[in-house]
């Protein structure tokens, strides 16, 4: 028992004096908890957070106003009013918003036109061309994850369809009322015709009955008691036409499927996990005396580190190729998912790959330089990668994070890498569109190596 207590005391003292270890044990999980919770809360539109949606109302009439009112009342969406589709497209391409709704200029008019058609046709759905339907256009961020798109579009479509149905039914009711009132007036007028009543045979209280009947008809003709159509009246056909457009493209096809987003995202995630072997190898050299031996030999630290950079750069490229292989050949065989679309700018892709790899290597080098033990580097490194991935939009689009976290995410190298890759895979961007991210990634690598060299020289 005495021995066990001694060992316990020793381990406790070691832990108490290991501040980085304590930070990993307590602060890191707390940070993770906060970020994951916020990310999950914001991933799906909720009444608390509200998903920001741009609205351009070109209709300026009943349907447009109703759609906006209903979206606002739903509390699931925070509407941002813009004036033109071009403004909306630019705001989405700038990454400020991810969704837009464009209500066409004659939407109410086209909806009302349906009323003229519907009562007179037996099968209106087949008779009305989709071009004559009220048009609503959904505008997407090309880099939006498909799952998020689906999660947002479904409630949007539901709210818009219900708005349209209500507007249509209100108008339909009014039209039917007008029609019925007119027919009732004609009928009442005909009953007022003396010849008509003279032909009615005599019977007890005849005149009293005719009088009551005429008054009743007159009352109906004045609009009383009114006509109420059933609330759950449904149409077999669409009453509005919803177009889906990718911002910055004429295509309605939503290009990024899950693979289009996830392969670059998870390649980045995997790349940054080289922190464990890379930092581990640096720490092993420091702690096992091999680094001291190397310093007595005619070799510089820069040469030692350059060799590591080259090796891990190769590893990162292999990771990318492997995940691409999975995306092209394995995933489509495992389920109903189309292979990743490789129609991208290859020079830009190569540069982004190298820059992202270097940033990941820089991260591994800096962790290896400042961590004292292998386990410290492994724990700190892996937890940091998860945090950087979470705030960097690897699992949940960064735009869905709370505003404060969105600002924090701007310092995540994974965010820079993800933005560069999604820019290429989803928005067909070339080097010109992603150069700022490339500079940030390479800058991060250079700063990491410089810090590392300085720290080694200092030690």
């Amino acid at each position: 028992m005495r021995k066990i207590l001694s060992i316990l005391k020793k381990d406790f003292l070691i832990l108490l004096r290991d501040w980085p270890g304590l930070a990993i044990l307590f602060i890191m999980p707390a940070v993770l908890l906060v970020i994951i919770t916020f990310a999950q809360e914001n991933a799906i539109p909720s009444k608390k957070s509200g998903f920001e949606v741009i609205v351009v109302n070109n209709d300026s009439s009943v349907l447009g106003d109703n759609i906006i009112n209903d979206l606002e009342n739903s509390e699931y969406f925070n509407l941002v009013r813009l004036n033109t589709q071009v403004e909306a497209k630019n705001a989405i391409l700038d990454g400020i918003y991810q969704f837009g709704i464009i209500i066409s200029d004659s939407a109410t008019e086209k909806l009302y036109d349906l009323i003229k058609v519907l009562p007179e046709k037996k099968e209106p759905a087949e008779e009305v061309s989709s071009d004559n339907l009220a048009g609503i256009t959904f505008l997407y961020d090309p880099g939006l994850q498909r799952v998020i798109k689906e999660v947002v579009t479904r409630p949007l479509k539901t709210v818009i369809q219900l708005s349209a149905v209500r507007v249509l039914m209100t108008q339909y009711t009014e039209e039917v009322n007008k029609s019925f009132t007119k027919h009732s007036s004609d009928l009442a007028a005909s009953f007022s015709d003396k010849d008509f009543f003279s032909k009615i045979p005599d019977f007890p209280y005849r005149n009293e009955v005719i009088k009551r009947f005429r008054e009743e008809l007159k009352g109906i003709a004045k609009g009383r008691p009114g006509i109420e159509l059933p609330v759950n009246t449904s149409f077999d056909s669409d009453i509005i036409k919803i177009n889906e457009l990718v911002a910055g493209s004429e295509e309605s096809e939503f290009k990024p499927n899950a693979l289009q987003n996830n392969i670059p995202a998870f390649t980045l995630f995997a790349m940054f996990f080289i922190v464990i072997p890379l930092a581990g190898s640096i720490i092993n050299e420091k702690n096992h005396g091999t680094y001291s031996r190397l310093r007595t030999l005619p070799v510089t630290y820069l040469e030692i580190i350059t060799s590591k950079i080259a090796v891990y750069l190769f590893v990162c490229i292999l990771q990318f190729i492997f995940l691409m292989f999975v995306g092209i050949y394995i995933m489509p065989r495992l389920g109903e998912i189309s292979a990743i679309n490789l129609d991208v700018n290859y020079p830009a892709l190569f540069i982004a790959l190298i820059a992202s790899s270097l940033a990941a290597i820089g991260f591994g080098i800096i962790v290896g330089t400042f961590a004292s033990t292998h386990s410290q580097a492994a724990t700190f490194g892996s937890v940091m990668v998860v945090i950087l991935a979470l705030i960097g939009g690897i699992f949940v689009p960064a735009n869905l994070l709370p505003e404060t976290l969105q600002k924090v995410s701007l310092v995540s190298p994974l965010r820079w890498g993800a933005d560069a890759f999604i820019g290429m895979f989803a928005r067909d961007e070339g080097i010109g569109g992603i150069w700022d991210k490339i500079c940030l990634l390479i800058g991060f690598f250079c700063v990491s190596v410089l810090f590392s060299v300085r720290a080694f020289k200092k030690n």
Partner: protein
């Protein structure tokens, strides 16, 4: 013995950051070419600090060290091919084999290609490592690791060889083998600086020893001269105890 100094240390002072005491307190020391020089001292006396300075691993706080007439505080890189270090700890890569470790460290010096392979083969044979050369270091015994550790420090045939407790934890057979090899190397002209806690080793091998304690050189001379100069002492161990005392050190 040539009067051709390989190392000249003048008023060498080293104070570590955060310490309020100098690890070296103005050490003056000269090592001549071809000497088998023993640096003896109890724990924390300053041996490792001194060898670390002459290996270029740490910088002195003040003072100067010339090695092969080059001030190492100004330029060290040009000396690296001429200096070999055999550290006390096993400074090898666990996941490389015996042969791969030797070749790796050898390749970092001026040696390479067939010349290096030939040297490696000779040393592997000399230290009876033929049957172990393909083993990972992590799977080797302590004795094998100690031999490989030594080979990696001498593979480039340095003119100045610094050995820090090279026989720590090895059996008698291997110790004898190492002695024979080092003596032979010294005869061929290699200057050797040898730090050890084993006074018998120093007495047997070294042509001259310095005893260092509390960061100061307190004795300098041939082992036989030091024994003779200290009345009542019959071996270097007794001289060492007489000069450094029997108090336990940190």
């Amino acid at each position: 013995m040539d009067s051709n100094p390989v190392i000249i240390a003048k008023n060498l002072i080293k104070r570590y950051k955060g310490s309020d005491e100098d690890a070296l307190k103005g050490v003056n020391l000269t090592v001549q070419a071809g000497e088998f020089f023993g640096l003896l001292g109890p724990n924390s006396a300053g041996k490792t600090t001194f060898t670390s300075i002459i290996c270029g691993l740490i910088r002195p706080t003040s003072g100067s060290v010339d090695i092969f007439n080059t001030d190492i505080t100004q330029s060290y890189s040009s000396l690296k091919n001429s200096i070999g270090l055999v550290p006390q700890e096993i400074a090898l890569y666990d996941t490389l084999t015996v042969e791969e470790n030797i070749m790796f460290f050898g390749n970092l010096t001026e040696n390479h290609g067939q010349k290096l392979r030939s040297k490696k083969d000779n040393l592997v044979r000399l230290f009876n490592l033929d049957e172990h050369k393909s083993k990972l270091i992590s799977r080797c015994s302590g004795g094998i690791k100690r031999r490989v550790n030594l080979i990696c420090g001498i593979i480039h045939e340095p003119s100045l060889l610094i050995l820090d407790e090279p026989t720590l934890g090895v059996d008698t057979q291997l110790r004898e083998m190492i002695f024979e090899y080092l003596a032979d190397l010294n005869k061929k002209g290699t200057t050797i600086i040898y730090t050890t806690h084993y006074m018998k080793e120093a007495e047997l091998l070294c042509t001259r020893v310095n005893i260092i304690d509390h960061g100061e050189i307190i004795a300098d001379g041939k082992p036989s001269d030091l024994i003779a100069a200290n009345s009542g002492c019959t071996d270097l161990g007794q001289v060492f105890l007489k000069m450094t005392g029997r108090d336990l050190r940190d």
